[in-house]
Symmetry: C2
Subunit: 308 residues, 2 copies
């Protein structure tokens, strides 16, 4: 048995199997042709956790399992300290942050509206450069977003539960202070987890603290914004607009008023598309295979006690 | 006469006169009420160079003239070493680079197309993160763009006349090597000056070296791209698309085929809008007034020999 022999299974998603097999090879591994030899297993179908036991049982040398997504819940019944487990945590925040920046720039620079035009029209647009932004949330997406914003010279306010300062943020407010935190922001980015504390955090009161220059960008969960209050703010131009990759309800029904508003930009939850995710997961797999062969610590190791 | 006495003229553009007068005050200057005392003159109307001589002739103490734009051609007949001249060069690169990034992200993330949709549709989009880009040009816009791209982990190829390396670029090619330089690029940014060497630099041959995944983003001058060749490439989907803030002809006539193509995003030369420009110019004026009062070197000094 060689440590370089890595199995990729199951084969139920051929595109994923192919991409992750290539990643194993790029990382310096050998695809296990005999299940007896596999020291590592790259699980290649997030939708097939039930097949795990029968596959793993054919691999007496198995020491390490790489799971495909950030969330490990589907594999709960299999998790044990028989193996080292790694997952996709941290992989998917970057593209969501990129999408948030894309929406913000597209909004401020009026690109979507210009794309709808069929003639050369008047100059409209404001800079993100040197402006003020507020980021609701302080997790992986917020960190990635702060990193992407770093060359823009923006003043950054973060809204988070714990009051500790954050690298790259100019100040931190608590969720209860949301109406202070959004004041003067050109963009309010929503990048928090949906919890009972953040549900409808952006309500009529918070919206009324924003200005007619403020755009809201939501890449987190639709229900963090009170959709009815948002519709009012958009229709009365109390805020400049909303660019939403997530909505409440979601998917947004075709008859919904949000589709009809010029100052609403809707994208269908594509902060991290399956195609992007696969590319990013492949990068993680490549890196982890290379680390495994060298005996270096793996990235995204699952903490079985913390269940994360 | 005091060095702090600064004139702002003419008054033909009240908004500009007001903004630049405020900038003089913020910089620590005093607005000259008596033209005899003015040591500096902030020229406040780019469209009125012909008025320059009569205004300046009333200012016997005048030593320094700040011109409003990067291009100094309209003031050619007045330029002489009688005064120190400064202009807006370098001021306008940052917002243009921001617009280039906005167009690139909007294109890769399919935002403009989604904005045109009226229902929840399938996931489309690719990452700028960790991709390959090519930047045609190595001036102020390219430098600013490289800076804005720095957190994205992109591989950057620059196309420039002189073969010297550039900070932040992974490699440099000559304009003659354009077809090699664009190979494998997810985005080809056009950010060069229009010269006889760059006119139609992006021609049918260069376009054929790009891939069906490549987007072109032009924020420089329309004629750097051969529009007819571009139309062919867009219609045959030989490239993914073009996001153009400048066109040839410009303004783009309403009947032009580019307006009808789904994979062409057109914005009407708004990389730097008058509103943005005035804000940025005011910042430059403020800085230069403060430097003038302290006797520090001014920013954007015109080299009368190099005529730039």
């Amino acid at each position: 048995m060689s440590r370089s022999s890595i199995a990729v299974a199951p084969t139920t998603r051929p595109d994923m199997h192919r991409a992750l097999s290539s990643a194993v090879l790029r990382g310096g591994g050998v695809i296990a042709t005999d299940s007896d030899t596999a020291s590592g297993l790259i699980w290649a179908d997030p939708a097939a956790p039930s097949a795990f036991r029968s596959v793993a049982s054919t691999m007496p040398s198995l020491e390490w399992v790489q799971l495909p997504y950030a969330g490990i819940e589907p594999f709960d019944e299999h998790l044990s300290d028989q193996y080292v487990w790694t997952c996709g945590k941290g992989v998917y925040a970057e593209p969501v942050a990129e999408h948030a920046l894309a929406l913000a720039l597209c909004a401020l620079r009026n690109v979507a509206a210009y794309h709808a035009a069929t003639s050369w029209t008047a100059p409209i647009g404001t800079n993100l450069l040197n402006s003020r932004v507020t980021i609701v949330g302080a997790g992986g997406i917020a960190s990635s977003l702060i990193r992407l914003l770093s060359p823009f010279g923006v003043d950054i306010t973060v809204v988070r539960r714990r009051p500790e300062p954050i690298a790259g943020a100019d100040r931190v407010f608590a969720p209860e202070e949301i109406s202070i935190a959004v004041r003067g922001a050109r963009i309010v980015f929503v990048a928090a987890a949906l919890t009972e504390k953040t549900r409808h955090l952006i309500d009529a009161e918070a919206l009324s603290a924003m200005s007619p220059d403020t755009w809201i960008v939501n890449v987190a969960r639709g229900a963090i914004i009170d959709t009815d209050a948002l519709l009012d703010a958009l229709e009365t131009k109390a805020i400049a607009g909303a660019a939403l990759d997530v909505t409440d309800p979601e998917p947004l029904p075709t008859s919904h008023r949000l589709w009809t508003l010029e100052n609403a930009i809707i994208t269908p939850h594509v902060g991290n598309t399956p195609q992007m995710g696969l590319e990013l997961l492949a990068g993680r797999v490549e890196a982890n295979v290379a680390r495994w062969l060298r005996g270096d610590p793996l990235i995204g190791t699952v903490d079985l006690d913390a269940h994360y």
